[in-house]
């Protein structure tokens, strides 16, 4: 047996041969071990991805006709598709509510839990519960809670003197109502991530700050937030990526309405492809969405990192 650390010039011929075989075996065995993944990757990722790109340059209106090459026509149509452009505005409105609220609330919960002498585990378990429930169930359940005339939420709003809201029935509130539901789902999730981040901050930092006379707020702004920066960036990024991909909530709760206020890019992709069977157009939508998400992710990353940089 030859170990890799032995330098080649000190080896005899037979040892060199052994080492060659050893390396050779590494290659053969390596590929043997990863072969399931290579097969899976080629079949369920690479081929479909190339296929999607190919499709996006074709008109393919029913499942059984032959695709017709149309060049960039699908993409040109997308630019003129008002509903598609509106769908980005809709997810923008969603993110405007969902990202800041989730960020602030989950940070507060994490900070509160971090300073708790006991029952921390119990609260963490409770706040995480919404993540365990399937989104399908959550969406259906909240549709009933949001009901303007019979819903639980309007009932309690009435109790504290707030007039009944239209929620999902109003084009001004539907997307925001969906966003609030997703805040409910996401708070516990990010609180767990932030809590892990908080526990990585060494206690000596706070001790030193206290000795220097820093109060609680100063400690929060000068130590906690800056040191949590990577986690905050991650939270904003993930929420942004997921925000663009909102689909099931409007699909189940509002069917794109009222007045087209809850169409999202993925929902339109779904409708074009699987309800209207315009597969070429749908594929173009998917590619544009991917590019948008990648670009926004990169921009957001730069922006957020600069803003919270210390």
């Amino acid at each position: 047996m030859v170990t890799r650390s032995v330098r080649p010039e000190t080896l005899t011929f037979s040892e060199k041969k052994d080492q060659f075989l050893y390396r050779h075996r590494q290659v053969v065995k390596g590929y043997a071990f990863i072969s399931p993944y290579i097969l899976f990757f080629l079949l369920t990722w690479l081929f479909p991805l190339v296929y999607a790109v190919w499709l996006s340059f074709h008109e393919f209106e029913t499942l059984y006709e032959t695709p017709r090459f149309v060049g960039l026509e699908n993409f040109a149509m997308l630019l003129k598709d008002d509903l598609y452009i509106k769908s980005y505005g809709n997810v923008g409105r969603y993110m405007l509510v969902q990202i800041p609220l989730t960020l602030i609330l989950s940070l507060l919960v994490a900070l509160a839990l971090n300073n708790l002498p006991r029952m921390r585990g119990m609260f963490r378990t409770i706040y995480f519960v919404p993540n365990v429930v399937s989104l399908t169930v959550v969406a259906v359940l909240f549709t009933s809670l949001y009901s303007p005339s019979m819903g639980l939420i309007n009932y309690y709003l009435g109790k504290v003197g707030i007039p009944a809201q239209q929620f999902l029935n109003s084009p001004k509130q539907a997307m925001e109502s969906i966003a609030l539901m997703d805040v409910w789902r996401a708070v516990g999730y990010y609180a767990v991530i932030f809590l892990a981040g908080l526990q990585n901050i060494p206690g000596e930092y706070y001790e030193a700050a206290r000795i220097d006379g820093a109060n609680g707020l100063q400690q929060l702004l000068r130590i906690t937030i800056p040191l949590l920066n990577p986690t905050i960036v991650l939270c904003v990024l993930l929420n942004g990526i997921w925000g663009f991909q909102v689909f099931m909530q409007p699909f189940l709760m509002t069917a794109g309405g009222p007045l087209d206020s809850t169409w999202t890019p993925v929902y339109l992709l779904y409708r074009e492809s699987f309800q209207y069977l315009r597969l070429g157009y749908g594929a173009a939508m998917g590619l544009v969405l991917t590019v948008v998400i990648l670009v926004v992710t990169i921009l957001q990353r730069r922006l957020v990192e600069r803003e919270i940089a210390y």
């Binding site: 390596g30 071990f33 993944y37 990722w45 359940l141 909240f142 009933s144 990526i241 998917g286």
Partner: protein, 282 residues
């Protein structure tokens, strides 16, 4: 004396407020689910009555569940979901372990490229490949089959990534020693590496099982016969935008949620870690 006690009083007062706020938040987190459970047990006419009441006369009836069972073959739906999830969990754990072991244990040209593709697939939104995947499934006659349900989740690049991270921190002396003692690679993987990486495997198990159990989009495309419905598809079966039988919806939603919740409360640490890890998946 007072100089010491006053901050202490203020502190315990502050702590009391923190507890109160956290408790209020907990109520908001749990109330919708408790409402769902109670609503499922109300007489059908009381489910969406106004003003809403948590406890109504006749609470505890199973009529909603019986109604739901008329619309959907509930045992069959449970079987479909469980079978799909179990299959995907087993293959994902098995293949991810083998591939991650290959990626950490051996050196070969292209290894880093392969690992990079793993990370890339985690970044690409799966919607892009939805249409081609559907067309492939159709051409291979996988519509309304278990294989069609299972195939895209047979393996997970995220699982490979996760287990590779776990295998990397394993002391290589240990593995080398086993190798010198004549153990085969499979033997090393299954009786040395995997037992040590139990935490990573549990995380992956919970992550895969939850993902499969709650998945809606792919099943909704590859399945259109009621006999092949999974639980999330069946939830929508009772539910249409204009006339909804809320009693059945609440009953079936509760039935879909309770098993997961019980497992969650038993294995909550594994759940939280497993699902928080999914943040890496994006």
């Amino acid at each position: 004396m007072t100089a010491v006690t006053w901050p202490r009083v203020a502190k315990s007062l502050g702590l009391g407020i923190v507890y109160a706020l956290l408790a209020f938040g907990s109520v908001i987190m749990l109330a919708p689910l408790v409402w769902m459970l109670l609503a499922s047990l109300k007489p059908p006419t009381e489910v969406m009555a106004y003003p809403p009441q948590w406890i109504t006369p006749g609470l505890g009836t199973l009529r909603n569940y019986r109604e739901a069972a008329k619309l959907v073959d509930i045992p069959r739906v449970y079987f479909n979901s469980t079978f799909t999830a179990a299959f995907q969990v087993i293959t994902t754990l098995l293949f991810s372990s083998i591939v991650a072991y290959g990626l950490t244990r051996f050196r070969f040209p292209g290894r880093d490229v392969v690992f990079t593709t793993c990370l890339l697939t985690m970044m690409i939104p799966s919607y892009v490949i939805l249409i081609p995947l559907y067309m492939m499934a159709r051409d291979l006659h996988l519509i309304n089959t278990y294989l069609g349900l299972i195939l895209p989740g047979l393996m997970s690049p995220f699982g490979i990534f996760l287990l590779r991270q776990h295998f990397m921190i394993m002391p290589s002396d240990l593995v080398d020693a086993a190798y010198i003692d004549g153990a085969s690679d499979m033997r090393i993987l299954f009786s040395l590496v995997l037992p040590i990486s139990r935490a990573g495997l549990t995380t992956l198990l919970v992550f895969t099982a939850m993902g499969s159990w709650n998945n809606f989009l792919w099943p909704s495309i590859v399945v259109n016969e009621t006999e092949m419905f999974t639980i999330p598809l069946a939830v929508t079966r009772f539910y249409s935008q204009f006339s909804t039988d809320w009693g059945s919806v609440m009953a079936f939603s509760t039935a879909a949620t309770v098993p997961i919740l019980i497992l969650y409360f038993i294995f909550q640490r594994q759940f939280v870690e497993g699902m928080a890890m999914s943040g890496l998946k994006g």
